[in-house]
């Protein structure tokens, strides 16, 4: 169980539904560990500003997370979390292991457009 305030993806069907209903999606697939918690924290913090992006998480050890673990884009990844950015259901970027806020926002800005300040 991931103790975050992000939308939890519980199954492959859930994952497919979110991708079909949202143009821009970021999924952080990890565990409750030192490399993953900071990335969930960043997603929670910027969710308000990036209203045009759907932020989700998925448990790495959930067997249905194979929808992420088996992506060709994560070949060679050996560090959690696997963070996947989707546009119109297609993977546009994937990162492995801990990321900084700056790394995350620069991907979001490049792939989905900049944040709208309140």
């Amino acid at each position: 169980m991931l103790y975050t305030n992000l939308k939890h993806i519980e199954s492959a069907a859930d994952h497919a539904k979110i991708l079909s209903e949202n143009e821009n999606v970021m999924v952080v697939c990890g565990r409750m560990g030192p490399m993953c918690i900071p990335v969930y924290g960043i997603a929670e913090d910027i969710e308000e500003e990036y209203k045009h992006v759907k932020f989700c998480d998925m448990e790495f050890d959930n067997p249905e997370a194979s929808v992420i673990r088996n992506l060709p884009e994560v070949r060679g990844f050996m560090g959690i979390p696997f963070t996947i950015y989707y546009k119109n259901g297609k993977v546009v970027k994937a990162t492995s292991s801990i990321q900084t806020r700056q790394q995350v926002t620069s991907i979001l800005n490049e792939q989905f457009g900049v944040a709208v300040k309140a």
Binding site: Y3, R31, M32, G33, P34, M35, C36, I37, P38, G41, I42, D45, I46, R75, G76, F77, M78, G79, I80, T95, S96, S97, I98, R101, Q102
Partner: protein, 320 residues
């Protein structure tokens, strides 16, 4: 134009030291802001299990961080996390902080508690292979290396203990250490030395990483002989100690040669109205309990300072 928000006290860093200071100050009705660069909780949030925090038998660092954060917020402390400080002026009576996004804050007192972080090797390719063979967390990434051969860099307790724990997954672990002896407890050294899956390359250091999608080999240089070898490996775990997050304080106040903030027993620094607490100060032991203790002292001293300069702080509440 951005407006400035004034506080009585600003705390830089929201780990256990900063959160504790935030709890004490806010509870005494000192208008307080915590500015934190990463996730609230600092290194504590990265700790799977804390079993040595008195009064709590066992708790994840994430949970303990959330409780401390909630306590601070309940008393009225403002908290901003995942921010970046662009500039800071501590020299005047009114201290100012400007964030990268243009927000400006000022305060009569500042508590510095930026903690520390894992040291990296600083070798070319280290950032590119992070998560693709290079890891800093055995519990997180160990299972990616099942039946694989890995290198562990370091010679302290963390390196030796994590090397042993990684033998659950890896078929062979080679410890690379720069000295001819380890800086660890005897039992940790014995356990590693007696483990059939663990080998050692002493007086050696990594100088390069190679691979395509992921790490395939590293260069290991023997410091004594100067000879280098290319060593095939599937992964590298790095545990080479911690450094204080004080780069942004250079030239602003007194740091020692290790970059640690020099404090007096009341946690005051050499700058009037500026206090420091936690892992970033010059001290021997770095634990949640010590950070919490210093955060308390810094908050009490800062509120006394504020009280002397401005008599509207409810000092009584601090000690209840």
């Amino acid at each position: 134009m951005e407006t400035n928000t004034h506080y009585d006290a600003i705390i830089i860093g929201g780990g256990p030291a900063g959160l504790t200071a935030g709890i004490y100050l806010s509870r005494a009705r000192v208008k307080t802001l915590i500015l934190n660069e990463g996730t609230i909780g600092g290194q504590m949030v990265l700790t799977h299990e804390i079993a040595n925090y008195p009064g709590v038998e066992s708790i994840s660092g994430y949970q303990l961080s959330n409780v401390m954060k909630k306590q601070a917020k309940t008393f009225g402390c403002d908290i901003k996390s995942n921010i970046t400080i662009q500039s800071m002026d501590l020299g005047n009576d009114i201290k100012t902080v400007v964030l990268e996004d243009g927000q400006q804050f000022s305060a009569n007192a500042v508590i510095l508690s930026p903690g520390g972080r894992s040291r990296t090797l600083g070798i070319k390719g280290e950032a590119a292979f992070k998560g693709k063979g290079i890891s800093y967390c055995a519990t997180c990434d160990g299972d990616f290396f099942t039946d694989k051969e890995i290198v562990v860099v370091g010679g302290g307790n963390s390196a030796l203990e994590e090397a042993v724990s990684l033998t659950k997954y890896a078929s062979k672990v080679t410890i690379v250490h720069q000295f001819d002896h380890f800086q660890a407890f005897e039992h940790a050294i014995d356990e590693a030395k007696n483990h059939p899956k663990i080998n050692f390359k002493m007086e050696s250091t990594l100088t390069a990483f190679y691979g395509n999608d992921k790490i395939e080999s590293v260069d290991i240089k023997n410091i004594r002989t100067g000879q280098s070898e290319n060593f095939k490996t599937d992964g590298v775990f790095i545990f080479i100690g911690y450094i204080p997050n004080t780069e942004f304080l250079k030239d602003k106040l007194e740091l020692n040669t290790y970059g640690e903030i020099v404090v007096k027993p009341d946690m005051s620094t050499n700058i009037t109205g500026v206090y420091a607490a936690g892992d970033s100060i010059a001290k021997r032991y770095r634990q949640v309990t010590t950070a919490v203790g210093e955060g308390t002292i810094a908050a009490l001293a800062a509120s006394e300072f504020l009280n002397k300069n401005k008599n509207n702080i409810n000092h009584e509440l601090l000690f209840q």
